[in-house]
């Protein structure tokens, strides 16, 4: 092929070198492209197709700080829409505007109180809507590029396509967030994003990868309890098919998702053989007040005036936090305590004595020797 070009051109060597370089480069790239044929062959096309599956929702609200609009995604060809559960839906006059400008009155089928998701239905006659198939939702990795599609700030109206923001996935981590001082009720993993995606009106929007595949649903505005800053995040879509089925079936859903469950018979300081100082302040530092001789705590080397700072790497700032953390652990669980003693951090691993021993103790206490 190169020879042909050479013959054709009969040009000088420098020109040939140019040709060859270009041509080899493009050949290599073409091969590469073929291998990744689906990879955003045309980002514009991908965005356009994804936008067609995102709808604008108008309902209650309208006061300052309470926008009367949000976003939703079509999840069936027959008019099911997944969106955020919010005050916006709290009206009989709920309007959904499709990407092509068609307008529908929506019916609320049901909701998930913990995930704060709701399913709406549009009474479309033909089964021809473009939609995201929740069964085909994909997972993404940290650092992977994503697109957030939503009607944030209500920029798009009528037949205008929703806004697209691009960024990467910052982290996949449990949602530890609050609205005002109230903790969010969904605490499982979410995708945290490096793009300011969760602004007013964005909730219920789509997070897709650069191939247009659904990755997540944009959440409502929340502040991180870790950083105190506004979070940009999306609920992973991979689990939502079941959730939507449950919502549509009218099943009663969990009020809180991802909450740790209390132990049946929980671990206590007493069972390990130490006592904390009396809990008298709003945040009493969890100092050890006394250690029972020959107890697991004593044998491990805990001492009076040791300050507990971590229980299994979870920071413990107060006596209350300590008791809460122990409340999640079973009686006989191995637990590691991080202690501050004279400025040095020490690690201790403890396990309560055999259940038998404690029963004996109690028996003795009850009947006397």
């Amino acid at each position: 092929m190169i020879c042909e070009i050479y013959k054709l051109l009969r040009c000088n060597r420098r020109m040939l070198a140019h040709c060859v370089r270009f041509h080899i480069a493009s050949c290599v790239l073409f091969t590469f492209l073929a291998a990744n044929a689906t990879w955003g062959a045309n980002l514009q096309q991908t965005i356009r197709e994804a936008q067609a599956k995102v709808v604008k929702i108008y309902g209650a609200g309208g006061l300052r700080g309470m926008e009367a609009y949000q976003t939703g995604i079509l999840i069936s060809p027959s008019g099911d829409v997944l969106t955020a559960l919010s005050y916006v839906l709290d009206t009989d006059d709920l309007t959904v505007i499709l990407d092509d400008g068609r307008k529908w009155q929506a019916e609320l089928l049901g909701s998930d109180p913990a995930r704060e998701l709701a399913v709406l239905h549009l009474a479309v006659e033909e089964q021809s809507l473009n939609y995201f198939d929740l069964q085909e939702a994909v997972e993404v990795e940290v650092g992977q590029r994503v697109l957030a599609l939503s009607n944030l700030y209500g920029i798009a109206t009528g037949e205008e396509p929703v806004s697209v923001l691009q960024g990467v996935v910052t982290a996949e981590a449990p949602l530890d967030a609050r609205r005002g001082s109230e903790r969010s009720r969904y605490r499982d993993s979410v995708y945290i994003l490096d793009v300011v995606a969760n602004n007013p009106g964005a909730a219920g929007g789509a997070l897709v990868d650069w191939q247009g595949r659904l990755v997540g649903v944009l959440g409502k505005e929340l502040r991180s309890r870790m950083t105190g800053t506004w979070l940009n995040y999306a609920l992973p879509a991979k689990d939502l098919a079941q959730v939507v089925d449950d919502i549509k079936a009218g099943k009663e859903l969990q009020q809180v998702v991802g909450e740790r469950v209390a132990a049946e018979e929980s671990l206590s300081a007493e069972s390990l053989g130490f006592q904390l100082v009396p809990d008298v302040l709003p945040r009493t530092p969890p100092y050890i007040d006394s250690v029972r001789p020959d107890s697991p705590a004593d044998r491990a080397g805990l001492r009076t005036d040791d300050l507990i700072v971590f229980v299994d790497r979870e920071p413990i700032a107060s006596c209350k936090a300590f008791h809460r953390a122990f409340g999640f652990r079973e009686f006989d669980e191995l637990v590691s305590l991080s202690i501050l003693r004279d400025g040095a951090l020490l690690e201790f691993h403890l396990q309560a004595e055999e259940v038998q021993a404690v029963v004996d103790d109690e028996g003795e206490a009850g009947t006397g020797p």
């Binding site: 790239l29 045309n42 940290v142 992977q144 990467v168 996949e172 530890d176 950083t227 920071p315």
Partner: protein
Amino acid sequence: MRFRVVFFLIIALGCFSIANAERADLGLLEEQAFQAAVERAATSVVQIRTVGGLDRVGKTVIAQGPTTGLIISADGYIVSSAFNFAQQPTSILVQTPSGKQVPAKLVARDKNRMLVLLKVDSDVPLTVPETVPTGEIHVGQWAIALGRTFQADRVGVSVGIVSALNRMFGRVIQTDASVSVANYGGPLIDLHGRVLGVLVPMAPQQSAGGEQNELAGTEFYDSGIGFAVPLEHVLGVLQRWRQGEDLLPGKLGVGLKQGNAHLQSPRITSVWPGSPAATAGWQPGDVIVAVDGHAVGTQAQLRFQVKPLYAGDRVAVRIRRGEQEIESQITLAGELGAYRHAFLGLLPMRDASRGEEKGVTVRSVWPDSPAAKAGVRSGDVLKKIGETEVHSLGDAFEAMESFQPNSTAKFVVRREKRKISRTVKLGALPEEILLREFLPRAFHVEDSQPTDQHPAELVPLKLPEFSAEVWFLSAFDEKDRRAGLLLWLAEQGSEEAQQLADAWQTIRRRDGVTLLIAHPQSEAGFSADDLEYLETLLRTARQRMRIDPRRSAVAGRGKAGQLAFALALRRKNKIGGVISIDAPLPRALKLPANLPGNRLAVLVIESPGSSFAPLIHKNIEQLREAGYPTSWLQLPAAVHEDTELDGLARESIARWFDGLDKL
């Protein structure tokens, strides 16, 4: 020719296919590059947890989550953002990449670039990241911000570009990657996983809480404006930093002419006593022309040369004095002694009389002042201070900035047809409150409406966005006359506002004081949350009325008094006085340095049996030590409400207020 056409055609085709292919997989290749870079640098990024310390710094609640640090030496030195330690934790714990939790020691802070240096003991050598030479960093290159807040076992990633170099007067590079608490202290890396810099919040202008405030700049989080201190710089100072001494911003010890920093030349208006500038023999009027061989034509250019430097750094500074140029070797200072304003001993007339030539007419001479000793009289017209011609009151205040208490100054007054020149030793701003006999009227022009109305006609002032009630009582009916402003923070309702207004009715007209009465936003009374609203209020008042900033004071009792302190110390350029009744300084407030340009006088009022008395007395000492003239007024009886101040106390406040524009 034909060959040529074909050739171009093929080139064009080649280009086209490349463009197409690039568009197709560049995204994927970039994404793979991001992930590879992150992986390379991640082993040097540690998670930091702190234990103990404050819950709040100022009005900001400190989140208790983990923060990020960057390993910079194999033997355990870690750099992080000062923000992460603003709460002054009692213990610091670092989770090393191996997953081990180890205690860390805070070795020292860098108060110029808002970093901290930590040290951990590690039995294994830690992974030190590769550094990008600062000279190689260029705008537009990929930049990835890493943090370890959300998860301990994986770094958080945000991708952007380098948006600017040499920001914040040459101290940081800027990126549009998302930078927030989630990655302060973490690295900004390039596409090869090499570290460009350490992420920090930084305020673009001199922030309200002072430049050395750890929280300054946090409001720009995730905004597309993030900053990183080049790692090369950090490694450059490590040798010095690890000795354990805080790195402080280097200071020359000069005051410059106020105005637009990009237009004004660096002309010295004042020289701090004992400062490097004083040691070098610099004088007011000298102009800085070069620093280390770099010519500086404006104050902004001077800042670019000096701001990156630390206390202890040596620089060669060239100044111009008249025709002469002098070069001095300067060792920059960290802390300067308190600045004190000089005092001549005059009270000025506040308006020009008709047909008067330019100058400042003496309203009254302060008893026993340098001016009194030099024989100045009321009605004399001040024409010159030092080498500065005085045309207006503003000129006179500016001229005084070049002097210190105890320095010698020449001044010229005109008395009738005669010019009188005197040389005096200047004093410090007096703290006593003048008797009424030394305070004649300060205005030539008479009022159009000399009688007062009862009750006083309070006018409501509406502030957009804020719900709190605000009232004002104008000093003059004429809009063009410049009035003083007394902002009274009143805890109780509108009834009290009316009583206050009635009580101040006569004083405000006689002394030309507009009374502004502000109520708290919340029923619980004033709190630090009201600062923003009060600043907006001051701004609005200044837009609506002609106000003399030197004669603007803010007053309050108890919690409102603490807020008055906070507001006045934060906005010294707009407020000349603060009146606190039974109120100590806010606990979390760091007393800012007294500066030549902005004068602030304090009036501390104490009622008998105040439980804060010991604290208040300590505050008076602190304020005086920092260079703020602080007057003290003891009330005869306890006050429980602002309206209970008797006529005598109010008159004393008025006399103190009337002396705010003394020279």
